[in-house]
Symmetry: C2
Subunit: 330 residues, 2 copies
């Protein structure tokens, strides 16, 4: 019954080998069976291209974003806004950049009013600088950053939609506030919004910047910002302004495309008037807009060229808030 | 006066060499001067990312598009629309797919009313088929195709903008008419528009198709369409419908992304009622929508899966027609 196998020396060894081989085969079959059971179910039509279900326990780095909010002299607004923003879908963590030098953060009070949906870290600053919010915070774990001014309220719907848009345009600043530069025959640039003349490419207006005070962008741009010429930091510190213009220059230079993608907000509000501090924000200074034109020209010098590019793409959410907001006469 | 140079053998040769060298240097300086004069002026800020100035004499293949318009029994509308479309910016050529079998084309009359801004070719068909417009016409010289139904009027502004959007999304069908499919617990799909339930991904609606009767797409998709399973052609011929659904399946399968990008039209009109022919278009048939649901399910069988993906991106033109159509309370 043994055939040539038995003829080999070590017939005992042959049987053991046979048993061993059988055991190995059985184990492999069991492992394969277990793996098959673990295969994900393919549901192509149920997975929209850009949306992934949030993991309730921990948000993966690609599916969520970190809110970075710098604050100065408006702690009442900050806390009101934190109550709103802490509950936004896909939020991973909040980083509060505390520019109130020498003043205690509200961390104790915050903790006493827990639990909170996500962690909030208060980063105490040593100098009150506009560009403090553009540090490469080690607390950042997500690819996406949502940067908000401490007086701006954007609805959860707008943020959820804009985040999904950012996921489709991750190299752009995806946000709610578009601005533009225009060039003049003298070669001097001017900064502004829709009140300025259209840049003159076809009909309609164009924008060349999306402000970072209400926008999503990739966290790598914070790393990149640390590598800029000293003159950029000096400019931002000198004006306490223009960090957002500098970021748009950085992004445009990096991509060779328009830096921003404008998402038209349904519900965006400025809560400035609601503060008890009496402090009303840098943009009320008389020289604010002139400074920004000044910054555009300085940055063109520093970067030896104008990298900003124009876009006229305005994105809205299909069927929201009105279920047929795309209806037409056809 | 000659120093060591004169001491070298061939003093005459030394002087000739000196002269020769001087002449060479002078010539080089002149050439360098001429080249400097020819250097292009760098005007980065004047070139928007996606728009290129049309060449008035001949449109380059990337800067222009070909209009393909199929026509049946509505020659009066065709001619009215041709007068409009022939003057659209960036139009390279018009291809009229003549489905009026046995009937003379209006080519003679067309020529007698020349000159025309662009060439118009009448492609006489032998059989009246819906999918005739999806042939890979040798007359096609551009990368972009604009396909229009012969009863649809879209404004030049909308078309110019949508073309610029297509240039930024060349692998998608960029157009004005969004539709969707929904799946049901039974696994059977249904076709429709906003009146159907939202697919249920977050709030708002989604679309999974952009109809080709008013859209830009890449001409390579016409090549690809020739390579489809026979069953697809049989389905389209059987229903005299669904060629556009088939194209969306094709594109979605090819890209793995949503097939279309919806551009919200400012001015789109259906001229059906204006025709003298009394012919009112296929979509008035009682079974039209049911057929399209039928087609969706048949195509899922043919392609062994549902490749369509959802999108909720709606694109509008920034600052047009209202110069501040993006203004908000901020």
């Amino acid at each position: 019954r043994c055939f040539h196998f038995c003829k080999l020396p070590g017939r005992v060894m042959g049987i053991r080998l046979l048993r061993f081989t059988s055991v190995v085969i059985i184990v492999l079959l069991l492992v394969a069976g277990a793996l098959t059971a673990l295969l994900p179910t393919i549901k192509d039509d149920k997975l929209p291209n850009s949306r992934r279900e949030p993991k309730t326990q921990s948000q993966s780095a690609l599916d969520s974003f970190t809110l970075i909010m710098q604050t100065y002299n408006r702690t009442d607004l900050l806390l009101k806004l934190l109550n709103h923003y802490q509950a936004i879908p896909h939020l991973h963590k909040v980083i509060v950049v505390w520019n109130n030098i020498g003043e205690k953060t509200p961390e104790e009070m915050w903790n006493s009013l827990g639990p909170h949906p996500v962690p909030v870290v208060f980063k105490v600053q040593t100098v009150n600088r506009m560009r403090n919010r553009l540090q490469n915070f080690p607390d950042l774990e997500t690819k996406a950053v949502l940067m908000m001014d401490d007086d701006t309220l954007v609805s959860a719907h707008d943020l959820a939609f804009a985040f999904s848009v950012w996921q489709q345009f991750p190299e752009h600043i995806v946000g709610f506030v578009p601005r533009k530069h225009i060039s003049t025959p003298s070669g001097v640039y001017s900064y502004g919004s829709f009140e300025l003349q259209n840049p003159g490419f076809g009909n309609g207006d164009q924008y060349s910047m999306v402000l970072i005070g209400a926008a999503f962008f990739h966290s790598r741009y914070l790393e990149d910002f640390q590598q800029q010429p000293e003159a950029v930091y000096a400019l931002i510190d000198e004006t306490q302004n223009c960090d957002d213009i500098a970021m748009n220059f950085l992004v445009a230079k990096h991509t060779g495309k328009p830096s921003g993608v404008f998402v038209k907000p349904v519900d965006i509000r400025n809560l400035e008037k609601d503060t008890n501090s009496g402090y009303s924000g840098m943009w009320h200074r008389a020289e604010h807009l002139l400074q920004r034109s000044y910054c555009v020209n300085k940055l063109v010098n520093i970067y030896d060229g104008m990298p900003l590019k124009y876009s006229n793409i305005m994105i809205s959410q299909f069927g929201f808030p009105n279920y047929a907001n795309h209806k037409n006469k056809m």
